[in-house]
């Protein structure tokens, strides 16, 4: 008899991805398994590395703006907002109130679109296929608004440094209002499909638990942090682009598991609709582009600006050497930092839970790898 047979093989190293449909792109996770139980994980990233930060050093400030859209491509408007705010702070440019309000409307629409993609794909990973079709249908309405406003659906390049390039098109307000009207019942519909569903609850409850201390230790931000009970939202903590004028709640969870993250994100979509409505009600008139010099040449210095992107804190660190091109562009992408907690969440879970946990982090590999 041999000393051990394959049935005794307790530890198994398994590659998950990069060509796995549930890793949301090209993430490779090395799993160490004991049967069905996960002993540890290791992420291998970089399959989508395009060197965006290096590209930024070789482009002028205005030229780099289209590239930031391509990092988190499901929330490109938020990326553009963060970059524009950073350059504006470096230049000391004031953005007109009308441009600020329009920016808020578009980024909140983008938050809804991003959360819809997350909801659809996350439910698809867990095995509920129906929500994907419904979420895509509602997202299409948002993309149509983007296409009419700035001419592109995904990689929008909607904002320019100092404000906006395009004035709102005729009928924008009615269309956005109609979308808000239509959208709120749809969120209830998704909840009807999922919130009470026993399979959904069984797959998500107590899976991927992160305590508030864990979140802080890993630097996890966004809905994941809020699901652990920490009321931290940059829109409230350090308001930008006029967010201090709007009245909205920060939804928080209790347990910090996947189910709470789901509830937090659902509530965030409703709060986004509230913000959009308030911004539309108080939409000021006036100019849409601030006083920006023709050639953007910021003074020597460095700046860090972060915004609350749909996935968490999105930060831009720019260093200027006084020329037309940034000396250094560093991006702090929320997905990249949130992905660190994967190992912590996966330990002790089952292989099937890994898929749920990757889905609940809401990563976009374009942003992780940059």
């Amino acid at each position: 008899m041999p000393d051990s047979t394959y049935l005794d093989a307790t530890e198994l190293v398994l590659n998950m991805g990069p060509q796995h449909p549930s890793t949301h792109g090209v993430l490779r996770v090395i799993l160490k398994l004991d049967g069905e139980k996960v002993l540890g994980t290791e992420c291998v990233i970089g399959y989508l590395h395009r060197g965006v930060e290096k590209i930024g050093e070789n482009r002028t400030y205005a030229q780099f703006a289209p590239y930031v859209d391509r990092m988190d491509y499901v929330a490109s408007v938020s990326n553009g907002l963060g970059y524009c705010l950073a350059v504006e702070k470096l230049l000391g440019v004031e953005v007109p109130p009308r441009a600020q309000a329009v920016r808020v409307i578009l980024t909140e629409l983008n938050r809804i679109a991003s959360h819809l993609i997350w909801l659809g794909t996350h439910a698809l990973d867990v095995g509920a296929i129906t929500p994907l079709f419904y979420t895509m249908r509602e997202r299409e309405e948002i993309l149509k608004i983007y296409e009419k406003y700035c001419g592109a659906r995904l990689t929008t390049h909607a904002f320019r440094i100092g404000g906006l390039q395009y004035e709102l098109y005729e009928g924008f307000e009615q269309e956005v209002r109609a979308f808000c009207e239509m959208f709120l019942p749809k969120v209830d519909e998704y909840e009807e499909l999922l919130t009470g569903n026993r399979i959904w609850i069984a797959r998500l409850k107590n899976v991927g638990v992160l305590t508030a201390e864990d979140c802080k230790a890993y630097g996890v931000t966004g809905p994941m942090l809020r699901a652990s009970g920490v009321e931290w939202d940059l829109r409230k903590a350090q308001p930008y682009s006029g967010y201090e004028q709007y009245d909205f709640k920060i939804p928080t969870g209790v347990n910090g598991d996947s189910y709470d993250r789901y509830l937090v994100r659902m509530e965030e979509m409703r709060q986004s609709v509230r913000i959009i409505r308030q911004a539309l009600d108080g939409l000021p008139g006036g100019a849409i582009l601030g006083k920006v010099p023709k050639v953007i040449k910021p003074p020597v210095g460095e700046v860090y600006v972060s915004i609350e992107a749909p996935k968490g804190e999105l930060g831009y660190y720019l260093v200027s050497d006084g020329s037309t091109q940034p000396y250094r562009v560093r991006v702090r992408p929320p997905s990249f930092v949130n992905l660190q907690a994967l190992d912590k969440m996966c330990r002790g879970a089952l292989v099937a839970d890994v898929v749920v946990i990757i889905g609940t982090i809401d990563i976009v590999l374009g942003e992780v790898d940059r």
Partner: protein, 151 residues
């Protein structure tokens, strides 16, 4: 007790299925029959580039100022011009635009001072060769000619 009965009678699953069955009517179909019916894209859509000509004289509006080439993040526009000795003005000779590298950001049309370069609503840009994606002045003025298949 209520929760127990709900679980026993599979109410949670039936509620979800009821949502699905509400969308069974044909008016909820969202499929587009693409090549047969072409979507109408928005007026501001940023698609294939076009070099505008004066509709009456057929002369190009481009003044060969090279601003679009400078604005382009990918450096894919090449403008060449020569000075007309009679009128003492620059005249456009060649204009190439490599759409295989273009990301349709619209910075070139923003930079154009005479609205000669424009991104249009054409979105069918496929070609069989890489060279086919490099558009010359004639192609930019006349617009793309996508292959239309009878079906």
């Amino acid at each position: 007790m209520g929760q127990f009965l709900r679980r026993l009678l599979l109410i949670d699953l039936i509620e979800g299925l009821w949502v699905t069955f509400r969308y069974q009517r044909p008016k909820h179909i969202y499929t587009e029959q693409y090549p047969a019916e072409r979507p109408k894209v928005a007026e501001r859509y940023r698609g294939a580039p076009r070099l505008n000509v004066n509709p009456e004289t057929g002369e190009t509006l481009c003044i060969a100022c090279n601003l679009c080439a400078l604005a382009c993040p990918e450096n894919l526009i090449v403008v060449s011009s020569e000075r007309n000795e009679k009128t003492r003005r620059k005249e456009l000779t060649h204009f190439t635009y490599d759409i295989s590298r273009c990301m349709f950001c619209g910075l070139c049309e923003d930079a154009c001072p005479v609205d000669a370069l424009e991104l249009t609503q054409d979105f069918e840009l496929a070609s069989y060769t890489r060279e086919g994606a490099i558009w010359d002045r004639q192609m930019l003025e006349e617009g793309p000619r996508p292959t239309r298949y009878p079906y």
